[in-house]
């Protein structure tokens, strides 16, 4: 479980996150939703210790952020950032292999190679393995980056808008894979999603963030309501129940 207690974060005196206290349940898929600028990426980067904590605490399983080594955390938690800063001139396979670095520190063994092969296969990258990441389409590159995160093979995974650039088949396959990892391998996965329907259909738990505060938290059936759409997203879209899942009509 990831427990966040009284987390606040300011940039230049402006509150980005305001006293957030939430638990992200273990072995479940949690969707983080909210309008642009709500603070979702900031929250993920704090959980992933990419920015130093200012106020409040974050525990990841038995590890407390700020009190354990970076290297220890790298085998516990991985993050797919929303935007990568720089596209490296690496082949897809090389990029995915770097995800194993916390384990082999530069000397990959057969187990590392096997994990890389698995990640390439799962994300349908076998044919692209030798291609340079620079030459890929946006969606192919996104898949390569996700495969790298999966190769890191951590118990906790944070994925910031993983469906960016993905077509419908790749999106559904990825979400199904995420569910399988959570439920069969007991991984705790947090996904930032903009499409509420994906959250409703694939997540076990939804947390809505609005202006740096938690607006709502609960199962999809409890959360995806006209009131939430109105309060958090300022939208009057209609909602229907299909097969027990709320579906937003767009």
């Amino acid at each position: 479980m990831i427990s966040i207690r009284n987390l606040s974060y300011h940039i230049d005196g402006v509150a980005i996150l305001d006293d957030i206290t939430i638990d992200l349940p273990k072995g479940k898929v949690t969707a983080l939703v909210g309008p642009n600028g709500a603070g979702k990426s900031t929250l993920l980067s704090l959980i992933a210790r990419l920015e130093p904590l200012q106020c409040g605490t974050i525990d990841i399983g038995a590890l407390t952020i700020g009190q354990c080594s970076n290297r220890q955390l790298a085998k516990q938690i991985s993050i797919l950032p929303q935007m990568t800063e720089h596209v490296p001139r690496l082949s897809v396979r090389e990029l995915v292999s770097f995800g194993r670095f916390p384990y082999h520190q530069g000397r990959p063994g057969p187990e590392d190679e096997a994990k890389v092969d698995e990640a390439l296969q799962v994300f349908d990258l076998d044919d692209l393995a030798q291609r340079s990441v620079v030459d890929l389409s946006g969606g192919q590159r996104q898949r390569a980056q996700i495969a790298m995160t999966f190769a890191q093979d951590t118990e906790y995974m944070l994925l910031d808008e993983p469906l960016n650039n993905l077509d419908i088949a790749a999106s559904r396959a990825l979400m199904a894979r995420i569910r399988e990892l959570a439920h069969s391998y007991n991984k705790t996965i947090v996904v930032v999603l903009h499409d509420i329907n994906y959250a409703s259909r694939y997540a076990d738990w939804i947390i809505a963030l609005s202006a740096g505060k938690t607006a709502a938290a609960g199962s999809p059936a409890e959360i995806v309501t006209p009131k939430l759409l109105g309060d958090v997203f300022k939208s009057d879209a209609e909602i229907r129940m299909i097969d027990g899942h709320p579906v937003v009509l767009v």
Partner: protein
């Protein structure tokens, strides 16, 4: 697999260039002389062999430093000798010459390394403030920054009547290399070999702070270690043969374009190519105005400027 074939091709090419280098120069030498002429053997041992080794090591070390610096700064158009590190080293040597003329060579090296490091850190601080959307500003700022430090060195040297000394450091040349006067460069070679052990770390740092941290590495620590390595290599090179420009810029760019940025795979090729380019430039410098010599720094300045412009105009989006 393809890269290993290139390693071998590169090594064979380098061996051939080295043989040429042994027999080109003011004093006429031919392979048959070596068999019966004692004097010819002496020229080879005292001058030609050291000179060839110096060019190989300096070229390889500068190319490797350039690769590492491009990862640390995350810009493909920088290299230590044009972005202040080399000029910082020259400043350190000048300070030692002015204030501690009796200091041992190791004290001189240590001080030059420190000033080179301070100059590199200064460059990094400036670069971090530049807008990331303007990658071409970085090399321009680097050239100006290096130029300012170089100008300061010249000014102080002029005041102290040391101009002829510093021209040796500021414009690299191998004509002064003799046995007993270049061996410090082997330390630079050692430094370049050591950076190879951190090749993965540098490649990861090149992908950005987010990825570096999430793979469990300390970003700032790796950047600092890398800058120290670059500074020490530059200081050793500048002290023994002077500033060797542009090798660290064009060689990593060409290798990266062809083989990518996986430094563990590409650094050996970067080293071999850097050595070859520098040695060829030195040989050209020996023959264009025969029997006079053009310093290797000048030859590389011309070659480097042309290739640099070509790189700038070809695919700026990778910067």
């Amino acid at each position: 697999m393809r890269v290993t074939a290139w390693y071998w091709a590169g090594l064979i090419g380098l061996a051939l260039i080295s043989i040429c280098s042994l027999f080109v120069g003011v004093i006429d030498l031919s392979a048959s002389d070596l068999l019966h002429d004692k004097e010819a053997l002496r020229v080879l041992g005292i001058s030609r062999f050291p000179r060839t080794m110096a060019a190989i090591i300096a070229g390889a070390a500068m190319a490797v430093s350039g690769s590492v610096m491009q990862m640390l700064v995350r810009n493909r158009f920088v290299e230590p000798m044009t972005a202040g590190t080399g000029q910082g080293a020259a400043l350190g040597i000048l300070i030692v010459t002015l204030f501690f003329p009796a200091a041992s060579i190791f004290v001189k090296m240590a001080i030059a390394t420190v000033t080179a490091l301070v100059a590199s850190l200064g460059f990094l601080v400036i670069v971090r403030r530049l807008p990331p959307t303007q990658p071409l500003l970085v090399p321009l700022v680097g050239l100006i920054y290096g130029g300012i430090i170089g100008a300061a060195v010249v000014f102080v040297a002029y005041q102290a009547d040391l101009l002829q000394y510093i021209s040796v450091w500021l414009n690299g040349a191998f004509s002064g290399v003799l046995r007993g006067r270049y061996e410090l460069l082997w330390l630079a070679a050692g430094g370049a070999v050591l950076t190879y052990f951190a090749a993965d770390q540098f490649a990861i740092v090149g992908m950005g702070q987010t990825i570096t941290t999430s793979l469990g590495l300390d970003y700032k620590q790796i950047v600092l270690v890398g800058l120290i390595a670059i500074s020490a290599i530059s200081a050793l090179t500048v002290t023994t043969v002077g500033i060797i420009p542009f090798v660290g810029l064009i060689v990593p760019n060409i290798v990266s374009r062809l083989f990518g940025d996986n430094l563990r795979r590409t650094l050996p090729l970067v080293a071999i190519t850097g050595a070859g380019l520098t040695l060829v430039s030195d040989i050209i410098g020996r023959i264009v105005r025969y029997p006079f010599e053009v310093p290797v720094g000048t030859v590389l300045g011309v070659i480097g400027a042309v290739v640099f412009l070509w790189l700038l105009f070809r695919k700026p989006q990778y910067a």
